[in-house]
């Protein structure tokens, strides 16, 4: 532990500095000591971002330039060409549409399911409450893979294999989302709800005109989290989908990538960029909600 990270501990003041100055001020020695650490973090951040940058550059370059060395550092003008190749190979528009539809409906559905259930658990006493809650959470320790075979059999029996329903239905109940909604709703004062009830509002009125507006930030964070998970899901769609026209973006990309006879790297990489960039933009715009959504489980741990 003699790495520069040790300097981080000097964010508390050197001995002799009055305590009141601890909050924001840094002494000159500390200021100098900060630079190596800043450079180190810049390096780490560079490593984190470099693959994206390479992806963006490669997806806008000609197929033959992808493996050039020294690498091309600036984006080129072939993005349109790459995307149109990809459209020919996998039906890009259709595939992106599939992904958007599935992720959108699933997010909305899971959000409503979690909101209603979380509200019931947080604000009502009823018979079987503890038992039902425990039941919901017992499946958190069960790996998702356990459900694959029965789900496949079920969808086959329902005749739903290779449909949007097969992808959407299993993702409607997200126990973690229910848990998160319950946690956030418990901190909502009962007086707020009672006031609305006294005014004669029915229970569902209370939920949608009092609770939902107040919970908007939590719902936003949760919906980003759900959308991200749904947009990127892979194993189940890989199993449940047959025809290329039904493929979601990750399945289509993995299939094209797995086809060794395809060597149009530019096309694949432009599709990969397309699958990544919406998330990046969303993340950069809504970083606070993003991080709080993804960390929600951690802080409760």
């Amino acid at each position: 532990m003699t790495s520069p990270s040790d300097t981080s501990k000097s964010d508390t003041p050197r001995s002799g500095t009055p305590r009141s100055e601890a909050a924001g001020r840094v002494n000159p020695l500390g200021k100098l000591r900060g630079w190596p650490l800043t450079f180190l973090l810049a390096g780490v951040t560079g490593l984190s971002i470099a693959p994206f940058y390479w992806l963006v550059v490669s997806s806008t370059r000609k197929d033959t330039e992808v493996f050039d060395w020294p690498p091309k550092l600036l984006p080129g003008g072939s993005l349109g060409e790459n995307l149109s190749h990809l459209e020919q190979k996998i039906g890009l528009l259709r595939v992106v549409g599939n992904s958007l539809l599935v992720a959108g409906v699933q997010t909305l559905g899971a959000l409503v399911v979690a909101l209603l259930a979380g509200y019931a658990f947080a604000k009502f006493r009823f018979r079987g409450r503890t038992l039902l809650f425990a039941l919901l959470f017992s499946t958190l320790v069960v790996p998702e893979q356990v459900m694959l075979v029965p789900l496949f059999k079920m969808m086959t029996n329902f005749g739903l294999l290779d449909t949007y329903q097969a992808l959407i239905l299993p993702g409607l109940c997200v126990p973690f989302a229910v848990f998160l909604m319950r946690q956030s709703l418990s901190s909502l004062p009962d007086e707020l709800l009672d006031a609305a009830r006294v005014d004669g509002a029915g229970e569902f009125r209370v939920l949608f005109s009092v609770v939902v507006p107040v919970m908007r930030p939590v719902l936003a964070a949760l919906s980003i989290f759900l959308f991200l998970g749904s947009w990127n899901q892979f194993v189940w769609p890989l199993i449940a989908l047959r025809s290329p026209g039904m493929h979601t973006l990750p399945v289509a990309l993995a299939t094209l990538h797995g086809n060794k006879s395809n060597t149009d790297y530019g096309a694949i990489l432009s599709g990969t960029a397309l699958s990544t960039l919406p998330m990046m933009v969303l993340f950069l715009v809504l970083q606070r909600q993003f991080i709080s959504g993804l960390l929600a489980g951690a802080t409760k741990g």
Partner: protein, 306 residues
């Protein structure tokens, strides 16, 4: 009810509250109905069905009872043990490496000396927003032996090329590299949130007692972060045990099954050979592993707390 005789009016008046009380009692169940329905059909039922399937063999109408045969077969199946040891090797190398790096990153970003902390926090978190398939595709190209960027960089600093995806040991390391790239920043941000909730007074007290930076790290930071550390260790372990997407895209399980994971083996048996009974047995072996390892970790790390 239109007859306004006193008893009828009374009955009417007492029935209304009772009906509304009944309706109130039904509200939580109505609210829970969508969750319970979807949970029952798409979660609880599959979990039970899978267990039952693991005691059967054959498929469709030819399904028959097999007792423990699938589990016995599992114990004698060299490929299952290969998958298990691959997964174990990746787990044992990757999880400590990643969490160690994440902790250092978090301590670094948390330092008041560092400039532009928000930028670094944002930057290191970005990989975890990427889909796993996208990550696999990107790294499949970056790690190409002949002309991939990683080997070009290695060559540029005088190191030999590595046959990342062609050599068994290196292929597993490639998976480790990809996992580490993808999840380190996420864990760092979790640690960062933990670090920011440690009261400053603890550090000040430690300094008054003459503790240096290393001592403060081991005696204040690490104990205070213990719950968060436990959370990330358990989460990463469970996640790595279920590894599927990255090796599927990156190496397809090869070369020579060197990156075949337990989840991939389950997938092969279930959806390439349609051996549902055996796939279910693999699934339950995985569940057992996840539960036992998770419980052991919680026990070990929880106890040191006291």
């Amino acid at each position: 009810m239109s007859a306004a005789s006193p008893p009828a009016a009374l009955a009417g008046r007492s029935a209304a509250p009772r009906r509304s009380r009944l309706r109130r009692a039904a509200v939580p169940y109505l609210l829970l109905a969508p969750a319970l329905l979807t949970f029952g059909v798409f979660k609880a039922y599959p979990v039970v069905e899978s267990l039952l399937l693991s005691f059967t063999t054959g498929s469709g109408a030819a399904t028959r009872d097999a007792g423990l045969a699938n589990y016995r077969r599992l114990l004698d199946d060299p490929l299952f043990w290969t998958a298990l040891s691959n997964t174990g090797e990746i787990l044992v190398i990757q999880v400590p490496l990643m969490l160690g790096l994440a902790l250092l990153m978090a301590v670094g970003i948390n330092s008041a000396l560092v400039r532009w902390r928000t930028v670094w926090r944002l930057g290191v978190f970005m990989p975890s927003v990427t889909g796993l398939v996208a990550t696999g595709v990107i790294f499949a190209y970056l790690l190409k032996t002949d002309d991939g960027a990683v080997n070009r960089v290695l060559n540029a600093v005088g190191l030999p090329s590595v046959d990342w995806l062609g050599q068994p040991v290196w292929a597993r390391m490639a998976v480790v590299v990809v996992l580490t790239w993808h999840y380190t920043g996420y864990n760092a941000v979790i640690y960062l949130a933990g670090l920011q909730s440690i009261p400053r007074e603890l550090y000040e007290a430690a300094m008054v007692d003459g503790a240096g930076p290393i001592r403060r790290f081991t005696s204040v930071t690490v104990p205070a972060l213990r719950p968060v550390l436990l959370f990330t260790v358990v989460l990463s372990t469970i996640g790595t045990l279920q590894l599927f997407d990255e090796p599927y895209v990156l190496t397809g399980g090869g070369p020579d099954n060197a990156t075949l994971t337990v989840s991939m083996y389950l997938y092969q048996n279930g959806f390439r050979y349609y051996d549902f009974g055996y796939a279910s047995a693999v699934a339950y072996a995985l569940t057992l592993l996840v539960t036992v390892l998770g419980a052991v970790q919680m026990r070990l790390m929880g106890e040191r707390d006291k």
